[in-house]
Symmetry: C2
Subunit: 432 residues, 2 copies
């Protein structure tokens, strides 16, 4: 078969994902051709690190140290960008689309920050950029929003889209260990990076949520629009109370639309323990979507890992290859409605869990309750155990009815200044 | 806008699904046009029942009593077939595809029995037949196999794809009621039909599994190839033992491929209660798929109902409309590998739960154990409670290690003829 008979593929980056994708392209060439409709030919891989190239044991003629060379290669029709990070991925994607090549990427950061530009450039050049692998590994998540659920008005997304934090929270819940111990275990097992900031602070989840919300609500949602809080404040005491009250604690990515107003936030959540989403354990991901026709659907699977991610990258490659082989035009265009607005976190309304350490004295609860009432917040339940007499402190846990975040923040400000208050040990939002 | 400016749509049948689809097409015309790329125009609905037509309050000019008239209408580009059942749906689909029209259907029976013919005819005529709504209501299930998971070799599907039976089993498990009481409740709530045979005997699930297996394994799987057993034999005692042993009882549709051999079966299953699939309750559906790249993914949602089903029908209509509007060609073709074989149920290997009523006498368990051992079946656990002395009977429950179905059937035959045996009260397969 001549070199131009098939679809030429170039890969930018031979990290774990690039490696898995390259291997799968070579190992299952026959099966991929059957589904794509024409041969998929891996023609070039850009990788600077000579050790990685050697370790891969792939044909050295496939490699170049310079990504620009792959992007410029006239025999390459599809660029698979698996470099990760914003730069220089952004520049290579621009160049690839600008020269009329299709792009497939697993890069959540660059997509969440630049999707509308990329989509506009792709449309102008009659090509496309696909990014199924950028959220939820191999779980089909982008395709449902583009196609399967596209007749629906989507009202809400509740997602566990960071495996590292879900692993840590699962360990904290099941073994009653504290955050730092669980994090160390996750690092030991390779589930958390040496610098875990992006995962544990909810930044990774914010990237992914921005992508999902953009597609679901047809509005440009930038990662900076996403409010995010991490999981490091959670203690084993919070897990004990959650269990007692019938909840699991999860780091949720939440996006909702109501009357043209969008809320997007990532933070720990008390989730009723009978919900399917609450039962998602370990490094698994799950995304629950609510549409006006379909009702509640949930997608579950491995949210990361080279093999699962390569499943999504290859699905996108197949999609593009089918279009090229059969002369089809672009079928999906990114629709964005500029009239939609992002709601600040102060405006959201939800329920709250509040754990406080106070001095052990009569009338403490009355003082706290008064502040809550003054801010229009109703208390749904209270737990107050026997006090720690030796230290003259008591622990009080409150659950509220739905209240505005702003009111809650004001109330907490005042409560923390009460003379009876030692500290507000934690506060966690509650989703029912 | 002139009549020919958009895509013409005809609907065969104004049942609950046809009604929901027609209403959605009319009510969300603007949103559908935005995603499809051109207007979708409902031009004709075939419905014989004048009462249904009147009750719909839709424009009477839309209606005809004769489906053939809709199929023959030159202004109709897409036929939505929601008649249900094999005939005359089969004939109308043939006619529609034969005259170069696209077909979208929610009809599991006709698709499970005739998909390969339909696909061949559609290909010949340069059109397509889409059937996302035929399995799992609005849950995207067909699209993942065609596209999102298409780089994977699929090894297994475990599915709860019948809401009626899952509702009944959920009630039996939570309320310790017997089958007939739970069925009556389901009928009262409209979750089971007056004649529930198709649902409770696993026939409906067998149709759906045949479709999923055909797509997943690229092999023609006919509903007659699917072994099926219903749920009516289950008693509240089985649920009590299941709970005690750490299992839930579900009606599972199972499809596996190994070495070119396919097993497809629908029957009650003991499922470990910590699996996500075991936690799917009520009328909800869930489909777990295992692929060699993606690992284990699960899709969950409402498997039926007019609204959810219309979500899937409209997704297919949008897909077709995008292709027509943008002049794209067919991208998916049904691939079938004739070398694959269907494994008879006798050849499957699994674990078993066996509940027996015996006379209350020493040595009974020894006799049963000997028969099992003679047939190469190892017992993993035994429960024998205090006997019912008044009636001189005992109840013995066995769980086995993996064994061949054939061996198990032979063993049960022999056990049932032991002089100490009153009856084999139930046997249920176990999946781990």
């Amino acid at each position: 078969m001549g070199k131009k008979a098939g679809i030429g593929i170039g890969i930018l980056g031979l990290g774990v994902i690039g490696n898995a994708v390259a291997r799968a392209l070579l190992a299952r060439a026959g099966a991929l051709e059957a589904v794509a409709g024409c041969p998929l030919q891996l023609r070039k891989i850009a990788e600077k690190d000579r050790d990685k190239v050697r370790a891969s044991k792939m044909d050295p003629a496939l490699f170049t140290a310079d990504p620009a060379e792959v992007v410029a290669d006239p025999d390459v029709d599809i660029i698979i960008e698996v470099l990760g990070g914003e730069h220089p991925a952004k520049e290579f994607i621009d160049k690839a689309l600008g020269s009329g090549k299709y792009v497939v990427t697993s890069n959540k950061e660059v997509i969440s920050k630049h999707l509308p530009e990329f989509a506009a450039l792709a449309k102008k050049k009659g090509v496309d950029i696909l990014y199924e692998a950028s959220v939820g590994g191999g779980i089909p998540l982008i395709a449902p929003f583009k196609q399967d659920l596209s007749a629906n008005a989507i009202s809400a997304i509740y997602a566990i889209i960071n495996g590292t934090t879900n692993y840590i929270l699962t360990r904290m819940a099941s073994e009653e260990i504290d955050f730092s111990t669980a994090l160390k275990q996750a690092q030991k097992l390779g589930y958390a990076e040496p610098d875990p900031t992006n995962d544990i602070e909810g930044i990774d989840a914010a990237y992914k949520l921005a992508i999902l919300a953009t597609l679901a609500f047809h509005a440009e949602v930038h990662p900076d629009d996403v409010y995010h809080e991490g999981i490091s404040r959670l203690s084993s005491r919070d897990f004990r109370y959650a269990k007692e009250l019938g909840y699991e604690i999860k780091l949720l990515a939440i996006a909702k639309e109501q009357d043209g107003s969008i809320e997007v936030r990532v933070h720990p959540v008390f989730l009723p323990d009978d919900l399917l989403l609450a039962k998602v354990e370990g490094v698994y991901n799950a995304i629950q979507v609510e549409g006006d026709l379909v009702g509640r659907v949930l997608f579950y699977g491995q949210g990361a890992g080279p093999s699962a991610t390569s499943s999504a990258v290859l699905a996108d490659v197949i999609d593009v290859a089918q279009r090229i082989c059969r002369g089809a035009k672009l079928t999906h265009t990114l629709r964005l409605d500029p009239s939609k607005r992002i709601k600040p976190i102060a405006e959201i309304e939800t329920r709250y869990y509040l754990r406080m350490i106070t001095v052990d004295r009569p009338g403490v609860l009355a003082k706290i309750s008064k502040v809550m009432a003054d801010n229009d917040i109703s208390i749904s339940s209270v737990i107050q155990r026997e006090s720690d007499v030796a230290h003259d402190v008591a622990e009080i846990v409150l659950m509220t009815y739905p209240a505005k975040e702003q009111a809650m923040q004001q109330a907490m400000g005042k409560i923390s200044r009460l003379d009876v208050m030692q500290e507000i040990a934690n506060f966690v939002r509650v989703e029912d």
